[in-house]
């Protein structure tokens, strides 16, 4: 990712969101730069998924404004697919609904990684399903990819695979906002760290953290504690 791509991609102004009277996001204001892989970190229940959903347009904020320059692609969970879906149905669904979807690329990636078009998604292994979800997301030509805890619960080999697929297929200049706890596995990927706390969000350049000799995980623990 080069500096020339950098600008403001996501602007969040005074956004609040709660569920059944319980506030989750409180008057959050932050801007995310473009062309970077941003790790959205925070303790369980702090509102990472809610923030991603609000940015992705899956939820409306109770108040405040979210501005995203261009479209975004959300990494689906395998459970989001209809029960009758085969690999080819999932690709066709994306082709039908998303003008920016590159179906040829998706077919090619599926073949490369051993996913057959006729395979029923419900009968695939967890790793295969996650791979397919990642292919479908990355084959959309959008400036922003939103990922909520990808590779959670994976064995080390699958995690390495996910990182490899992500690095090989991410379009230059695009931004990834990834909510994760897997700092040891995905920490090296991050350009920017965004730590969501009860008092707001702490944004820091990942290289600046590394230059201090700390790992992303150590920095995160410092902020949270």
């Amino acid at each position: 990712m080069t500096a020339e791509h950098e600008g403001i991609l996501i602007q969040i102004q005074n956004v609040s969101k709660g569920f059944e009277g319980r506030p989750v996001l409180r008057h959050l204001t932050v801007s995310f730069p473009s062309g970077r892989i941003i790790g959205l970190l925070g303790t369980n229940g702090i509102g990472k998924t809610t923030l991603l959903s609000v940015i992705g347009g899956l939820m409306e904020p109770d108040e405040g404004q979210v501005t995203v320059t261009g479209k975004s692609a959300w990494l689906p969970e395998p459970e989001n697919f209809y029960p009758f879906f085969r690999v080819r149905d999932a690709i066709q669904y994306y082709r039908d609904f998303f003008d920016d979807f590159d179906a040829c690329r998706a077919d090619q990636l599926c073949r490369e990684y051993g996913l057959e078009a006729s395979q029923k998604i419900a009968r695939m292994s967890r790793g295969q399903k996650e791979r397919l979800c990642l292919f479908l997301t990355l084959c959309r030509n959008v400036p922003l990819y939103l990922m909520d805890e990808p590779a959670a619960g994976f064995d080390p080999r699958l995690k390495r695979d996910m990182v490899k697929i992500l690095l090989e297929n991410l379009r230059e200049g695009s931004t990834v906002l990834v909510a994760t706890h897997l700092l040891r596995d995905l920490g090296e990927l991050l350009d920017t760290v965004a730590i969501l706390t009860e008092n707001g969000i702490v944004l820091e350049d990942a290289d600046a953290i590394r230059e201090t000799g700390k790992s992303i995980e150590e920095y995160y623990l410092e902020v949270v504690q």
Partner: protein
């Protein structure tokens, strides 16, 4: 129009999957009753002397009636309200589409299942007429065209009006603006009142017209929204 066609395609596929067991069963009963030859002596005995054969008529017919009633009465509610409660599947939320238009497509697609179930009941009744016995009387329907049209109207038109009420209820759930809530509540009550009134007074042309106007209004609103 392209969006409506695409939504209709996937909505139909989902519903075909939902009913993947029911319709082959209905088809099997119809084929059985269509192909059964009338046994010798059946007419003179009034159908009473061959109780085993009589069972071949009544058993599957009862199954068919139960399945068709499920399709006409229960499935539309399950199909519509089940989807609207969330209100939308995550996969659908990702693909931006008009919620009202999707609801209209859902009602239209589900209507075909209701109408086909009514048609199946009449078709079975027509096949059973060859046996002229009391076997068909438990259905309390006759295979005349006006009666069938009335049933189709009930299954096909009365249902969308109920769905309109359901849609208004859904609007109440996911709209936070009080004028829209109030308008939704008034429309919901009005739709239910007119619908119930139309069927309570024995319908006739005015009852049908009330349902038709409500349904047309809903579809126009859905396409415009």
């Amino acid at each position: 129009m392209r969006e409506i066609k695409t939504v209709a395609k996937w909505e139909l596929r989902m519903r075909l999957y939902d009913n993947r067991i029911i319709w082959p069963l209905i088809g099997a009963v119809l084929v059985l009753h269509a192909l059964l030859p009338v046994p010798k002596g059946w007419e003179s005995s009034g159908g009473m002397s061959l109780s085993g054969f009589s069972g071949l008529l009544t058993g599957p017919s009862l199954l068919l009636v139960l399945l068709c009633l499920y399709q006409i009465v229960l499935y539309p509610s399950i199909s519509l309200l089940g989807d609207m409660g969330k209100p939308w599947h995550v996969l659908e939320q990702m693909a931006c589409r008009s919620a009202a238009r999707t609801a209209a497509v859902r009602i239209f697609v589900t209507f075909f299942f209701s109408a086909a179930a009514v048609a199946a009941l009449y078709l079975d009744s027509w096949f059973l007429r060859r046996f002229w016995t009391a076997t068909t009387t438990y259905l309390t329907i006759t295979a005349d065209v006006p009666d069938m049209l009335q049933m189709l109207w009930f299954g096909g038109v009365a249902y969308p009006v109920t769905a309109l009420a359901a849609w208004q209820t859904a609007c109440l759930w996911f709209s936070r603006k009080w004028p829209r809530r109030a308008a939704g509540a008034v429309l919901f009550l009005l739709a239910l009142y007119l619908h119930n009134l139309a069927w309570h007074i024995g319908a006739g042309v005015s009852g049908f017209a009330a349902d038709a106007v409500l349904t047309a209004l809903f579809f126009v609103a859905a396409v415009k929204l």
